[in-house]
Symmetry: C2
Subunit: 216 residues, 2 copies
C-alpha cells in the first residue's frame, strides 16, 4: 500500500539516512500468504534485511537508527528521549480520533468527531510551540518523522471533504510545522500531494479501496 | 492503585536496580487534581524525579535503564532489541484479550473469549520455548519484566473464577516461565499472592473497585 502513513514513517527514515531499498507494495485487503508468513500482525511497514524481519513503524525506525549511525535523529538526552516517546503516545490519541472522524464524515456526529480531533491536537500544538521549528528544535528528529505522515493528509481532507481537522486559527503552530516539514529533503522525497490523498480516501470511503493509487 | 500490573512493571524495574523510591497510590476512579496535572493520560505508573515527570510503563522502564546503568536488562544487539519490542507488541494483543475475557466471564461468550486469550498466547509460548529460561535467555531481561505482571494474575483468575487463561497442556512453557519469574528477587519483592488478586478482581467486578486492596 503506497499511501500508508505508517509505511511513510519508515520511508522518510530510509530517505533521511540514504539507505538504498526496494519497495514491495501490499494490497492490505487481500494480503499475500508470503507476507503473512513474514509478519504475524499483517501490517505495513515490514523491513527485511539479511533474513531479519522487523515490523511496526516505530520499531523499524529505531532499528534503522541503531544499525545505520549516519544522520542520527534520536535525542542524546534520556529525559528528552522519554518526553518524545510520551508525545508519540499522546499523538496516538490524535490518530485514533483522526480515523474515527474520517469514517464518520458523512454521519450526524461528524462535527463532534472533528472537534475531538482538534482537542487531541492541543498537546501537540503546545509542544511544537515550546520546541521551535521542529519537535527536534532546530532540525527534525525521530519524533518529527514519526508524527509527520498523518498531518500530510490533513490538507487533502480539508479540500477534498470540506472537513478541517487542523484549523489555522486554533492550531497555527502545527500548520506552520507541516509546511516546514515539507521543505525537509527526506519528506519531499516521500510525500504525496493533496489530490493523491483525496483519491485514496475517496476509494477507501467507497468500500473498494484502490491500493494501487500512488504507484507509478 | 497498588495492584496495577502496569505500575508493577516499573516497581520490578526499581527493585531490580535497587533504586530507592516512595510510592503514592492513586484511586483511579477518583483521580486527584494534582495527579491529572502531572500526567495528561491519567494512568499509572508516573515517575517523578527532580521535577521531571515520566509516564507510560515501558517508557518509565527505559528511562530508568538510561539513567541508572547498574544491573542493565536491555539487550545490546539491535536486532534482539527490535525483536523484544515486537514481542511486547504481540503481548498487547494478549492483554486486550485478557481484559475482554475478564469482563465477559459471566457472559454467554465466556468460552470463546477465553479461547481468544489462549490464541493470543501462542506466539509468546513459541518465543519462550526458543529462548530458554527467560525471554532474556539465561537471565531476565527488560522484556521479562514488562511481560510478567499480567501473567502473575492468571493463577488468581484460575482459582477464584474457575477460568483458565493459560492451560498447562496448551501452554506449558509459559506456565513454567511464570513459576521461574517468581524466584527472581525483584519479582518476589513486588508480587502479590493469588488471593489478593482474586479480592481485587472481585471488587472490580462488583462495580465498586477497592483500590486500597494490597495496601498495608
Amino acid at each position: 500500500m503506497r499511501l500508508c502513513p505508517y509505511a511513510q514513517r519508515t520511508r522518510i527514515m530510509l530517505a533521511h539516512k540514504k539507505i538504498p531499498y526496494e519497495t514491495v507494495n501490499i494490497n492490505l485487503k487481500e494480503k499475500p500468504e508470503w507476507f503473512l508468513e513474514k509478519t504475524p500482525l499483517g501490517m505495513v511497514p515490514v523491513l527485511e534485511h539479511d533474513g531479519k524481519i522487523v515490523y511496526e513503524s516505530a520499531i523499524c525506525n529505531e532499528y534503522l537508527e541503531d544499525i545505520h549511525k549516519q544522520n542520527g535523529v534520536t535525542p542524546t538526552d534520556p529525559y528528552r528521549r522519554a518526553r518524545d516517546k510520551m508525545l508519540l503516545e499522546m499523538n496516538s490519541k490524535f490518530t485514533t480520533a483522526y480515523y474515527k472522524a474520517l469514517q464518520g464524515l458523512k454521519g450526524e456526529d461528524a462535527n463532534s468527531l472533528i472537534e475531538a480531533v482538534h482537542a487531541s491536537l492541543v498537546p501537540l500544538e503546545k509542544a511544537i510551540g515550546e520546541r521551535g521549528n521542529f519537535y527536534g528544535g532546530d532540525k527534525p528528529s525521530m519524533l518529527d518523522f514519526l508524527l509527520y505522515p498523518h498531518y500530510e493528509r490533513i490538507e487533502g481532507i480539508r479540500t477534498g471533504f470540506h472537513a478541517d481537522f487542523m484549523p489555522m486559527d486554533k492550531l497555527p503552530k502545527l500548520n506552520a510545522w507541516v509546511s516546514r516539514m515539507q521543505t525537509v529533503p527526506a519528506v519531499k522525497e516521500t510525500m504525496f500531494d493533496a489530490h493523491t490523498h483525496i483519491d485514496f480516501y475517496k476509494s477507501y470511503g467507497s468500500g473498494k479501496t484502490d491500493y494501487d493509487i500512488g504507484l507509478q
